[in-house]
Symmetry: D2
Subunit: 352 residues, 4 copies
């Protein structure tokens, strides 16, 4: 019953096998390995984006902040949802990489920005007033931090607002595959066709060891991106191990299969949770993350039985009235088993 | 005949096996994995440094610049050999991570600083003059960029100069294991006992996929280091894969076995090279790197026969008088075979 | 009727005279001028702070961001009122100088933080969680952006919250003299005795040409401050002209006389404004800034008569229902005349 | 006998008078003052550059580093003479403002770069190699740090090298007026016609209190410059005092008259110095700076008689063999008097 995070999961067998295979012999370093050519070709094909440039790094933070630093000058405002990882979970990495840009957090129900909310935030930045930071870039997240998904149409409406203000758009796709599976959209529909300029395409949480692709649909900043990656210490000498992961991940639709498994387990877990008296969702679930209220005594029993997940937000206590609802986050992954879901169902049922 | 760089080699079987083993089940993320405890314990034991703090990253650049940013303020001068990787091969990463410190390159024969040279460079920085950057930190490299090795005594004489000026010392140990094997020194003798404050302990070039340990012999900046690592995007969520590599690398002396193999092959290759008429070394070889002059025609034949290595410095041409010596760099690794050495010997012998 | 800002005013005659006097002959550069010794002695005496270190710069932004960069590391959170100049009017200068710290805006009525609000904001920063920026520093402003004043007791309650969390406190005193006059507090009471670590002591808005003193009550970061000032390009070669201004400003209580004049004119203007039917204050006035609602037609008449001030916030229009109240900001300065107040009274009275 | 630096001199009477005049009444702040329009018009006319954009700051360091940060990205190399102020006397300010660019010091006789030396340095930067910083910008200084002057032709040959490599060129003109007087060149010939993109036009050392103009001959980065100036804390609220200085400085050729006075005094002083037995110049004098060797006993007598100047480089001692030559720097300014020169001549003559 491991629902704490998808980053506690391991790597998929096919990815591990590809890594082992990649180990044979010598390979050119620093991204000149043939496997990287394969990655580039795969992404261009899968995204129907023949001019896209692709760069691999090992962490989502690196992917996000390198992208933002190519899109936003030091004096820029970066518009993000108030719960966005880049603003609340990266220890100021965007500020570091951009040379001091300012994150502008924007509220929005269920982890999603609205065109109106985004528009208001941009309008509130005094463009042309030298005393103020200037509109710089927009960053969106799909799946969102609330576990919801933007549809391509919703993304397009947001990027239209950005474009209307001359702003480029980054998409944090740490869980991009889960969003595709959740919405049925194609990679192209969910990215450049919806107005995304740079995508952080996550592999780590969804069956890789540690690899993310930065996909530049507009290849113009490709050289800058390479220099920034090097300066950030993110250019791997034995780059083949990043390439091998990403190639295996994308080959034959593995990434979507893994995401589908995670989403399906989450759907089942959602049903289990909602079957508990007093249970209700905090956000509509789209992919592999569930936010739900459950009575305190259910949490107590579940954790006593060995279920791992977080009360969310932090700071809630298992001590208190048993019927009082506490909010929690449950995350499934590609390797969550039906048995784990069943075990959790048994815990919830088992109340006496 | 792959002598271009040790970073074109793969990972050692034991490291790959450890990675596969680490893949089982779930593991806490962001460095809380039990394997990291093992890494920490191993390093403390191997270095006889029970208070050392250890942090893993995936690239040597990251290790170096995170270390330097903890040791040197933005207005500091960082003293380094004129050929040091941090000054000439990291695209300004130290400047980026330190917030604008200034590298001070210092000449020195065979890639090594002398106490006199270091002392003169520090003395030339106008301490206490607000118009000048201030002495900040010293960074050394062992093996050096010239393939030579500092002995512990030589390091100690350099760190004494630094200490006399109140400066902390970083050691870039991308090839630390090769240096230990070359000199017979213990890890402690070659690091904290010689006055090193922070060590970048390389794994990548010597049989790992991509892992380096930043070892803080003085644990004081441990928390700062963690925050800087996160801000740099270098904190791995699935950290177990870094831990597994490093643990396997250090267990049972594997790291030294791998380095010994590389050094032994280099010794053999050195003999082969020196057997060529007109050959001579540019620097005395200590570990797994050879810099040598060979007649142009030997290079031409070797490369025609499929030998991979770099004419060094770049920019020399295979077209020209056949007897003219051209300088080149040869690097062996843990996986260089005796057969490769033999093949190169055959090429050199085979001149008619 | 110039009420747009105190920075449209000129310099006081005594300051101009001091500048002219300072021009005679040669003087040591870069702060070694004897007039700087006089400034240092004056500030130490006036603030009853014999160990204070003092550095002069020419702009308030420079004073603020140099102070913050000495108090807060790049990974720190800087707690500030949501309307604070450092967050909304300095184009990201704090982010630039600190190397990427994050401003945390905190709401508070009438431009003032409450201990509870500050405490909540600090508590919301996940201390010890490497994914989050860490509590770094608190910055307060007195007079506030809303024209209100903190009393020493109010400041002390806020700095106690900061101190309880181990955080240093900066005070933006661009209108420090106005705050002293408004509250009757002594300089010591309003600064170090209330827990302030570094004060930006403003001269520019209150009768100087362009000079601010950064006062370090704890002298520990004095050398760092000097280096940061130099790196920021804020160390004047002909420093005597900064010293001369500041010395004249502080000698014989001139700074308080100038502030008293400004405050007194504001008190008179407040009475004039409140005499208008439909007028009401937005914030209780403490010093030389008035925020008030007036009927649109009053604004229209005033501006037609040549009164200069800003509708506040920007974006309100003089076109619309005449009785509808519009909000505005009025600022007096040391050189505002009773005649200007009288003229404005005449405009307001004159409604037919 | 004040020859220590031109920054120990005061401001010219006309500049002080303009400052006093500027003090009357109210003026728009932050550069919207009418005097700034006058400055802009003057510079455009004087430089025959109708599209030039002009921004004022108070220090030469600010002018230089703002210019460089507009011309060079964080991963850029900035080519400068090894003695250039930006590299050795600004405490890393260029690194700070550019976000970590790397200064590349280039040797050159008498403080001057040669096209060959510049070309070699640029060629040594591995363009297109991601491991290396990339060619970014060239910065020249006129008068040079050695007191020599580039002619327009010499500048043009250097900027042609830069242009051939796609690099923009900054000119540090802290003593630009002295260089014009020394060479007889027009402002246009010595700047944009010679290929300069941004000029730091100094006022401070030559009769102002503290003002430098950043002149953008290509107006493209004007808005970026404004934002960087604000973020650097260099946008003056009471900007009129910068404008007034610069306008007075440029009106009616005052700047050239002041520079001519300084240069003429230096010419006279040079004759006096060369009359001393054993005297010889270190560099050919062009403007108001003289580097010369004089016997130790001459220095001892001069200093005992109250002459102020620096033995150069620092660290030489007045104790030692009386006939041994010591090198020294002498600087005259607009206010150096013939009497001072005469007094020095008397000292030198007076050897018994």
């Amino acid at each position: 019953m491991e629902f704490a995070s998808d980053n506690t999961s391991g790597a998929a067998p096919a990815v591990m096998a590809a890594l082992a295979a990649a180990n044979a012999g010598h390979a050119p370093s620093y991204g000149a390995d043939p496997a990287m050519d394969r990655v580039r070709a795969l992404i261009r094909e899968i995204f129907a984006a023949p001019r896209a440039e692709v760069f691999l790094v090992a962490t989502g933070t690196a992917a996000n902040v390198l992208a933002l630093s190519c899109l936003c000058p030091p004096w820029g405002a970066i518009y993000a949802h108030a719960e966005a990882h880049v603003d609340v979970d990266e220890c100021g990495a965007p500020e570091f990489y951009t040379g001091g840009a300012k994150l502008v957090p924007i509220a929005g129900a269920h982890g999603k920005l609205t065109p109106e909310g985004l528009g208001r935030a941009i309008a509130a930045t005094r463009r042309g007033d030298v005393h103020s930071v200037q509109p710089g870039a927009v960053t969106l997240t799909n799946l969102t931090e609330a576990g919801t998904a933007y549809t391509p149409d919703e993304l397009a409406r947001l990027t239209a607002v950005a474009r209307g203000q001359g702003l480029p758009v980054h998409l944090d796709g740490a869980r991009f595959a889960n969003a595709l599976v959740a919405t049925g959209a194609t990679p192209a529909e969910m990215s450049w066709q919806a107005g995304i300029d740079i995508l952080s395409l996550g592999g780590t949480k969804n069956g890789c060891l540690g690899v993310e692709a930065v996909v530049l649909f507009d290849p113009a900043p490709a050289w800058e991106m390479q220099l920034r990656r090097k300066r950030g210490g993110h250019l791997f000498s034995k780059h083949r191990y990043l390439s091998a992961q990403m190639a295996a991940y994308l080959e034959n639709g593995l990434w979507l299969q893994l995401a589908r498994a995670a989403n399906d387990r989450a759907a089942a877990l959602e049903q289990v949770i909602l079957a508990a008296p007093g249970a209700r969702l905090m956000h509509p679930r789209a992919g592999n993350i569930i936010f739900a209220h459950l009575p305190r005594e259910v949490h107590a029993r579940a954790m006593a039985a060995g279920a791992h997940y977080y009360l969310w937000p932090f700071g809630q206590s298992l001590n208190g009235p048993p019927e009082e609802p506490l909010s929690a986050r449950f995350v499934t992954s590609w390797c969550t088993t039906e048995a784990e879901i069943g075990a959790f169902a048994a815990v919830i049922r088992d109340r006496d």
